[in-house]
């Protein structure tokens, strides 16, 4: 009889499809509830009108974006002028995050290389040591950093005692302090993916390069770095993205003159002085920038695979 037990592939295909939807559902729910909905709320809020004691009035408005980019307002009587304050804060965030990424790469790559080339047993210990400080709360680590670098902190005391400097170096409340904070906060995110890539690296490739007359430098730049590049790019993204939105390091170490996007957004949601639509708009602009970086990465990956 047609349609009997085990009659053809049609039935089993339907069975699998039937099981498929309920099994995937939780994943969709999680992505929906924790990713799409919050971003959607933020997007909507960025186009609403601000309420003076915090919160929003449900009235469509471009005011938040207008305030971000333009002085005097795009819709006023006078010709609009670019408002540089927030763009400058964004620009500062970008170069601070970029510099922190570069610094982490310069320190993180040799560190990752060192760990990956240790005997298997000691490797675990090194990895453990790298992650230990990160079990301490970021706030506490950032404050500790401030204690280390302040005018009468251990760093200055030591340099003074050693006679290397005659006056304490003022680091706190400068961009350098912010940089140190960012670098220190996110270094492991650079080390770990590069470590993973170097650990998979086939050292016979370095021997092959040397066999084909390559110097150590050429071997590094033309063989090792291109081969472990996915790890390097992953590390750079993992450092750059959180650095860009970071507010603890700039707040605690940089002071008012070293404001970054994270702090700007943070302020908009605090107390009566806040401006929720403006905060949401700044967050959306930050998000678009991060997305641009990720799209750039995805495209470079795709190009690499296609070759």
């Amino acid at each position: 009889m047609a349609g009997g037990i085990g009659s053809g592939p049609g039935k089993s295909a339907r069975t699998y499809a039937g099981f498929g939807v309920p099994l995937i559902l939780p994943a969709w729910l999680v992505i929906g509830i924790f990713l799409v909905v919050p971003i959607g709320i933020m997007l909507v809020y960025s186009f609403l009108t601000k309420e003076f004691r915090g919160g929003v009035i449900w009235e469509f408005s471009l005011a938040a974006y207008d305030q971000f980019f333009f002085d005097r307002g795009l819709f006023g009587d006078d010709p609009p002028e670019i408002e540089w304050t927030y763009i400058l804060i964004f620009w500062r965030s970008i170069w601070q995050a970029g510099l922190a990424t570069l610094l982490s790469l310069l320190i993180g790559f040799p560190t990752a290389w060192f760990i990956a080339t240790r005997p298997a047993a000691t490797r675990t210990i090194w990895l453990f040591l790298i992650t230990v400080p990160y079990w301490v709360n970021l706030l506490i680590r950032t404050i500790s950093m401030k204690f280390l670098i302040r005018d009468n902190g251990p760093l200055n005391t030591w340099l003074l005692d050693a006679g290397i400097i005659s006056d304490p170096i003022h680091v706190v409340n400068t961009w350098v302090a912010v940089q140190l904070g960012l670098f220190y906060s996110y270094l492991p995110f650079m080390v770990l993916p590069i470590y993973a890539a170097v650990e998979r690296y086939n050292f016979a490739l370095s021997e092959a390069a040397a066999d084909l007359y390559a110097s150590r430098f050429v071997t590094l730049t033309q063989v090792i770095i291109p081969v472990v590049k996915p790890g390097i790019i992953a590390g750079c993204i993992l450092v750059f993205v959180p650095s860009l939105g970071s507010f603890l390091a700039p707040d605690l170490l940089g002071g008012a003159k070293n404001f970054m996007i994270g702090s700007l957004i943070d302020e908009q949601f605090k107390g009566a002085a806040g401006n929720w639509p403006f905060g949401a708009a700044a967050a959306m602009i930050l998000l678009s920038m991060v997305l641009l970086v990720l799209i750039f990465y995805a495209r470079s990956q795709a190009k690499g695979e296609a070759r």
């Binding site: 086939n202 016979a204 490739l205 021997e207 092959a208 390069a209 040397a210 066999d211 084909l212 007359y213 390559a214 110097s215 050429v218 063989v223 291109p226 081969v227 590049k229 070759r307």
Partner: protein
């Protein structure tokens, strides 16, 4: 074929390599001639790769000298040695296409992009890979990757090419085809090949000369024929092909002949390897050189313990009077009578078929 009087390309002079207190190579001396297909043959772990890596410069030697056409290269880093290597797992650069892989060494030697590209095209033609010039290594089969590795190592036209078991990752059919290609390539290019393998058949069919290595020591150097027909010691006789080792007592060595007593008491004179001594010793007799005969008047008598049918041949395993076993390989033809299990048979071999070994 290379002549033994040709110039010495690689002179390995008393080389010892220690890893901690483990001796990987022990006083190895070899003179590899110009334009020779030279094979290092030995079981896994005997030190073949180590020796090759010492020549390439990836390992420092603990003692001795390595000379390339007279120049001591033992202290040069690998990128300053005019030798190239075909690695066992190929080690192709995964981020470069086939042409770029082949161009790599040429560019490092200061050739222009155009020159390097032209030469890469030439070499790829030589290994019949032209149509794959733009593929990435991951898009090639094992055999094709192996030929890229070969092309990459040949492109700079090295004085000596080192090949570390380059065929071991290929399947049997391909391996046999590539053997011939490699041999042909060596003749065409005139480059000295030092080829590493643990496969005796590979060594016997391809090489001008073979060095048999065991436990970090050179056991014997010679042509395939020398090594098979005139093994010096038990290890070589046993490792190359199949052989019977017969316990004998040696009364006397006179020149290159030995006078011995076979199990059962028959006196027998046969060639002796250099360094063989009187007392207890072993004769090596290849199974195909043992013939079955009437027990009366034969050199040895034995009882048939096993018969193995091999198509064209038959393996007859027998037990001698002293309890040792011996194998004869007899042709399946109408002339030969194949004994039955448990039969007592006589065994004969010519004087020249036996050889007294150094233990």
């Amino acid at each position: 074929m290379a002549q033994s009087q040709g110039a010495v390309a690689v002179d390995i002079d008393d080389v010892t390599k220690l890893y901690g207190n483990f001796t990987a190579l022990s006083a190895v001396s070899l003179a590899i001639h110009d334009n020779e297909f030279f094979t290092l043959l030995g079981p896994s772990g005997c030190g073949k790769t180590t020796l090759l890596r010492c020549i390439a410069g990836f390992e420092d030697i603990s003692q001795g000298a390595i000379r390339l056409y007279g120049d001591n290269i033992a202290d040069l880093p690998p990128n300053h040695r005019p030798v190239n290597t075909v690695f066992q797992q190929y080690a192709l650069f995964p981020h470069m296409d086939v042409t770029r892989n082949v161009m790599f060494g040429l560019l490092r030697l200061g050739r222009s992009e155009a020159e390097a590209r032209a030469r890469a095209g030439e070499v790829l033609e030589l290994v019949r890979l032209s149509e794959f010039a733009n593929r990435m290594p991951a898009q090639l089969s094992g055999g094709q990757q192996q030929r890229v590795a070969l092309a990459r190592a040949l492109a700079p036209n090295p004085k000596v090419l080192l090949l570390d078991e380059p065929l071991s990752a290929l399947d049997l059919k391909l391996r046999q085809a590539v053997r011939l290609e490699l041999q042909q390539l060596q003749h065409e290019t005139g480059i000295t090949f030092i080829f590493v393998t643990h496969d005796q058949e590979e060594a016997l069919t391809m090489s001008d000369r073979i060095a048999v290595i065991s436990d970090g020591k050179v056991q014997q150097v010679g042509s395939a024929r020398d090594i098979y027909e005139e093994p010096d010691n038990k290890f070589v006789a046993d490792f190359i092909g199949e052989t019977n080792l017969i316990d004998v007592s040696v009364a006397e060595i006179a020149g290159d002949k030995a006078l011995c007593t076979l199990p059962g008491g028959t006196r027998f004179t046969c060639p002796a390897a250099r360094g063989a001594h009187s007392g207890q010793g072993h004769l090596s007799v290849r199974p195909e050189r043992v013939s079955l005969a009437d027990p009366a008047g034969a050199l040895l008598t034995g009882t048939v313990t096993r018969l193995i049918y091999l198509g064209t041949d038959m393996h007859v395993d027998m037990r001698l009077s002293d309890g040792e076993s011996i194998t004869a390989r007899v042709q399946n033809s109408s002339q030969t009578t194949i004994p039955a299990m448990g039969d007592t048979v006589g065994l004969d071999f010519e004087e020249g078929a036996a050889r007294l070994l150094v233990d």
